[in-house]
């Protein structure tokens, strides 16, 4: 029953919506429910990217800190978003910090487990990659727009 509930939650997240039953069961086998209180870190820069978080409620700030400059947030991710895309590519390390802005409920996917299943079944791997790539590309576009710093001079 608990696994069925979890499968429903994973399948209800936009990342895995419409995924076939067999693949959904494989993905759910790597999943667990997690909670973070506001201010708590989901992960820190430099740590191994062992998990992917499918956000259900709350918001996560992606941050970088530098000595003497404080911490800067460059992106927030809310309900139905995904945090932890570094799990996709070696060396599987977080490049920045992820902090819960408020109380966060999420599905945590064990990245080693999911990568193992994707390697064992290329059809699952392709399906998973197809689902994560649009988010990767959206964030690349967003980052480029941020880099352009377009809000400088309109009067």
């Amino acid at each position: 029953m608990i696994v069925d509930d979890l499968k429903e939650i994973v399948g209800g997240h936009s990342m895995f919506a419409g995924l076939g039953t067999e693949f959904l069961e494989l993905v759910t086998g790597c999943a667990k429910n997690v909670r973070f209180h506001g201010g708590e870190y989901l992960y820190r820069e430099g740590e191994e990217a062992n998990e992917i978080y499918l956000i259900r409620d709350g918001h996560v700030a992606q941050e970088l800190g530098a000595p003497g400059q404080g911490r800067m947030t460059f992106q927030t991710i809310g309900p139905d978003g995904v945090v932890g895309l570094s799990f996709l590519v070696p060396p599987y390390r977080w490049s920045y910090d992820a902090r819960a802005q408020d109380d966060v409920r999420a599905i945590s996917l064990d990245a080693t487990c999911l990568r193992g299943k994707c390697n064992a079944d290329p059809a699952l791997g392709y399906e998973v990659m197809k689902r994560f790539m649009p988010t990767v590309v959206d964030r690349l576009h967003d980052t480029r727009l941020q880099l352009l710093d377009v809000y400088g001079a309109r009067s």
Binding site: H59, A61, E63, G70, R71, M72, T73, F74, Q75, T76, G78, Q101, D102, D138, H141, D142, L145, Q146, L148, D149, V150, Y151, G152, A153, R154, S155
Partner: protein
């Protein structure tokens, strides 16, 4: 369509009338709002602009940012970016300046009646599109969902922050704001304004969008709206170019086959898209 208002045709279009600043509001660093009065001022339509000039310095186009329904109110929001705009921003209450206008094609506000209204603004682009929101909120029952997405560089650079908060408190308008970068004290959204489009619910097939901000931001927003299913002819953008005469004579603001001052500044994306993608224009 909104009524296009124009200066008295009996007057020389290149001769400014005198306007007096009655109130100066410091908005954010380098940005002020002037409330003014001018002889013969008879109102404007949302999206139109005036040519404003401190005497002896020059003239620049500035969009009207107040409510169009209150014809006596003459409101401009100005950022100091060049010599003329800086001279304007430094004027104080009681100062007199030259004014020509109103000019330009307005936002087609009535076009959105019975439809979802999506306003996407970035930086100072909230000022030219604010009259649309005043009009829509004054006639709220004529529209379906009303959504405002606003992006700024940093929290300290958010224009009309108090007014955004007031709108957010209403139940009949959805307001989402974002900044490109923030320190830890900011608890709102961080990311580009187009990322907000993925977080709000609306009916793309029944949406009219009004987009205003830096050109690159407008292009990204128009593309995102089109990708979501909003018809290009229902996405309206306000263009900014180097306008001098404001009446379609001098050609400074020419963009391919159009003069921004005379044919715009408001255009739909179907017309503008091919022009905005040609670097040499």
């Amino acid at each position: 369509m909104s009524t296009v208002l124009a200066p008295d045709p009996q007057l020389d279009p290149m001769v400014p009338t005198l306007a007096r600043i009655t109130r100066k509001i410091d908005e954010i660093p380098d940005v002020v709002t002037f409330e003014m009065e001018a002889d013969g001022w008879s109102g404007f339509a949302p999206g139109q602009f005036n040519m404003l000039g401190p005497f002896g310095v020059g003239e620049i186009p500035i969009s009207l940012s107040g409510p169009a329904s209150k014809r006596e109110r003459l409101v401009h929001t100005i950022r100091a970016v060049g010599p003329v705009s800086r001279a304007l921003v430094e004027l104080q209450e009681g100062a007199v300046l030259g004014l020509r206008g109103p000019y330009g094609a307005p936002w087609p506000v009535e076009r959105a009646q019975g439809r979802d209204v999506m306003v996407v603004a970035g930086g100072l682009g909230l000022a030219p599109v604010r009259p649309v929101l005043y009009d829509v909120l004054e006639n709220r029952d004529d529209y379906e969902k009303v959504i405002v997405l606003y992006g700024a560089r940093r929290p300290e650079e958010m224009l009309f922050a108090d007014e955004l908060s007031t709108w957010r408190a209403r139940f009949d308008i959805e307001v989402a704001v974002t900044v490109d970068h923030a320190s830890v004290g900011w608890h709102g959204h961080v990311g580009v304004v187009t990322s907000l489009l993925r977080t709000v619910g609306y009916d793309p097939a029944n949406t009219t969008a009004y987009v205003c901000g830096p050109e690159i931001m407008m292009r990204f927003a128009a593309r995102a709206l089109t990708d979501a299913g909003v018809a290009p002819g229902e996405i309206w953008l306000s263009m900014e170019r180097n306008m001098h005469c404001a009446i379609g004579l001098c050609g400074h603001c020419q963009l391919g086959p159009v003069f921004i001052c005379r044919d715009g500044p408001v255009f739909d994306w179907a017309r503008l898209r091919p022009l905005m993608q040609q670097e040499e224009l």
